[in-house]
Symmetry: C2
Subunit: 518 residues, 2 copies
């Protein structure tokens, strides 16, 4: 009788669900996660603090440092253990904007929408000068401007000045058809080739790479006053680039402003017909003078199983951002969703078998720097494939870094063995729109740091909303762009995946270890 009662109690408390898939899902805990995630969500308040209150978080800036302190305190406040700000290495100069003003003053006055390019100096006081249109597509083009640029404001030409009325909505969600196409095998971006996010590519009108460095040096040597460039973005939105060099020995460059399309196009049209165009500019930027160490922020829910608690489930998101707004959809929303997932799990008082750890990265925008350093320090060297002891202890890493849209599924990163597992874990969330486990890989963000050393690392599929069209690396990436329901949903899905990973008997199956690259 006692045995029967025990059996019944065990069955009742587990409430296992065995569906089409063999992977067990604890529906009782799913319900608890959903309840906490939908009915007691803190995700919007957390987002407000990280974006509106803290401001932009360019790696190395004061805003990044304040966010690290805030995150550590927040995670501690929620009862997580071992919260720490963990250094990962040197980075280069810090930089921030202290004043941002530029206007056309002739043929008439027009204040211009613009943003200092990252890691460029300010004008340090009001400067003015005639604008000169400069179009350089090759080294030979530079010669024709020699001796003509001293004291001038350089307007980088080359952008198409034709902007058409936009008949496509800014925001989108994936249709069922698009999601089912995503299931087709397609090697989008090889995880081993990639070093950075989908580039905020050299803006239209700026030659990329080495030619750009040569142009920068040329303009500086010629004594121009400042540069206006860019041209991506419409209706007052502007896209920023990756900026000038942050190296301590970087060659000096001119003050430079990045602009959206309309205002830059107007300057170009006027200059193309030789109208006199005058610009005034007053910008101030600050470079850190001391080489500082950059950090990741860590916290945990310690494991409870004697054997398994030394094993890890890690979730993460990069907390650094670009500088023209508050980096909300890139990537504060990823950060607060991961934080909320931890908060939910702690609030419902789970007893995970494995240790669950959250890491909030910096340096992602400059090349996955924080996550790569962390993986190298703790788990493996991706260049030599020398493994540390803990390499075998990480079951999986989950990442979020594709905007503020809800989760629609996950990329399996060519790991066929996890398909069954993840599809089982997604099953209870079909009515929340989570349907698609694609074999595909995706790149350009922090799960790659794990995947490339043979630790299972995964990035979710998210609805785009306005990510590519309006927010990714723009001056309009602000709190206003989000949908609370999407963030709550994502927090719930992540919490559930993390919990399942922490509870299952086995570690997540691994692909073969990567081969050392020459």
């Amino acid at each position: 009788m006692k045995y029967t009662i025990i059996l019944l109690a065990v069955a009742a408390s587990i409430l296992s669900f065995k569906g089409d898939h063999s992977e067990r899902v604890d529906i009782h805990t799913v319900m608890q996660i959903k309840n906490e995630g939908f009915n007691n969500s803190k995700v919007l308040g957390t987002l407000f603090e990280l974006t509106d209150v803290n401001g932009p978080r360019l790696t190395g800036s004061a805003g990044m440092k304040s966010a690290e302190v805030w995150a550590k305190n927040k995670l501690t406040e929620w009862g997580l253990a071992n919260a720490a700000i963990e250094p990962w290495g040197g980075f280069g100069k810090g930089w921030e904007i202290n004043k941002n003003y530029v206007a056309m003053t002739a043929p008439y006055y027009q204040a211009l929408i613009a943003c200092p390019k990252a890691w460029t100096p300010g004008t340090n006081g009001l400067v003015s000068g005639n604008a000169v249109l400069v179009k350089i597509d090759s080294v030979q083009d530079m010669a024709k401007y020699a001796g003509q640029l001293r004291g001038k404001i350089v307007v980088m030409g080359g952008m198409s000045t034709e902007v058409k009325p936009n008949f496509t909505a800014d925001a989108k969600r994936y249709t069922d058809e698009e999601l089912s196409k995503m299931l087709d095998w397609h090697n989008e971006e090889s995880a081993t080739n990639l070093s950075q996010k989908p580039k905020a590519s050299a803006p239209a009108g700026r030659p990329g790479g080495n030619l750009r460095k040569m142009v920068d040096s040329f303009l500086y040597a010629e004594g121009a006053t400042a540069v206006l460039s860019g041209g991506r973005g419409t209706m007052g939105t502007l896209f920023t680039s990756n900026g000038a060099s942050r190296a301590w020995d970087a060659k000096p460059v001119l003050p430079e402003m990045e602009m959206g399309s309309e205002h830059l196009a107007r300057l170009i049209r006027l200059l193309e017909v030789n109208k006199e165009v005058k610009i005034e500019m007053d910008t101030r930027t600050t470079f850190q003078t001391v080489d500082s160490i950059e950090n990741n922020v860590i916290a945990e829910i310690p494991g409870t199983d004697k054997k398994l608690k030394s094993e890890l489930v890690i979730i993460g998101a990069h907390m650094d951002s670009w500088h023209a707004s508050t980096g909300t959809t890139d990537n504060a929303t990823g950060v607060v969703v991961m934080m909320e997932a931890m908060r939910i799990l702690k609030a419902i008082d789970i007893k995970p078998r494995r240790t669950i750890r959250i890491v909030l990265w910096s340096g992602e925008e400059q090349g996955l720097l924080g996550s790569r350093a962390y993986v190298k320090n703790h788990f493996a060297d991706r260049l030599t494939m020398e493994l540390k002891d803990d390499h075998k202890k990480v079951s999986a890493y989950y990442n979020l870094d594709n905007g503020a849209g809800k989760i629609r599924g996950i990329h399996l990163q060519s790991n066929d063995e996890v398909r069954n597992i993840f599809e089982s874990w997604m099953e209870p969330f079909k009515d929340l729109g989570v349907t698609t486990a694609t074999i595909r890989t995706t790149g350009s963000t922090d799960h790659i740091s794990f995947d490339e050393v043979g630790i299972p690392g995964f990035q979710f599929i998210q609805d785009p909303l306005e990510y590519g069209s309006r927010t990714h690396h723009t001056n309009m990436d602000s709190y206003d762009r989000i949908n609370g329901n999407d963030l709550m949903q994502a927090s719930i899905i992540v919490a559930s995946f993390v919990y399942n990973t922490a509870m299952r008997d086995e570690m997540i199956p691994r692909k073969s270890l990567p081969v050392i690259k020459k």
Copy 2:
């Protein structure tokens, strides 16, 4: 034989088309108009000069005056007769922007996208102060701020700070279904009630009308430093309002900046949770010190018929604009289309029976002032219905003022007798999308000045493109927003309507004279 030859010659030269409608259309001239309008168009170059080169044209400003000189010279250059800048009366203070800068400096730096509200003073130097959130919905609300605003930057609350992702495209064209619904009788806006354009209504967060005047006086008396208001517009677009009073005896008001939604919403969210927010601002605006007379610009193609040449066909568009951009779709495109229509007719060397006159208005944005004064000076007093001699000589007035979209039809202004005529005139342009002659009236622009004194006045139906969503009274109403094909099409339709009106035996049939209003 001679008689036959004459008959044949007459028939050949007229090439009449008698379709379903009894109104004769000269297809040969339609072809000439289309050829000149599509293959030798000057419309884009003209638009560039009026917008990019000339800049904004707020009534009373230097930009308005320079545009008048430019237009007169341009029309003369094209061979039109009797080009003149004709005064219509006093207006109030002129105003322009000479410097426009505002930024949040705490809790961190963020340059703000903003524009001085029309007819407000500048700060005349850099000012700074703490922001205070002010929400005034009624007179009683003001008391709670007494004594708290000295030296402060007032942030007008009341706007909804919730901005959702936008799943609707900015640009649209009318569908066939929408056009056929437009045919239904529907008194959209009574022509007799209207005094202004669809109001750039009191922006969200600013109480309208008398309460607003009281708030303005209160804030000024309390010694606040400046006001930030608005909140309409997304993604870097901001909508401007009709501004402060331009009267010579207007009460003094504070410097005020109008903003789009995101930046204002951020300030409001921070202030709502009592975060310290600091603002710095540096603006300069200039008021004219001498009361100047405002003008309309006129030019003609004189009539050739001995009996009919004293009769008039008038086309027009308002050339004045708002101040945050170059007023392209409102209403430089209307202006350049009307100018191009005249240029086309002159270029193909028509011999109109009646005199064709173009008038480019100012003061439309402030209440159809230029066109109303013109009609009063030349034709009739709308308040007394006292008629001048020339009142009986105007066959029709045609207007364009609904953005940069192509023509889809015309509003018949409840004039049933013109339906047949206009449908005949539209017939050759069905393949250009011109299909819809609706009995409806429309208001808020210069044809009303004619319609309200019993002279047939008509406004075309145009595809919206991005008019309501992005360009009407915004900082993004610039040259970039246009589609060259649409402007060429509109020029051709207008030229054809004008020519037909100048050639037909009879004047356009009239509705009854309006009754004098008390």
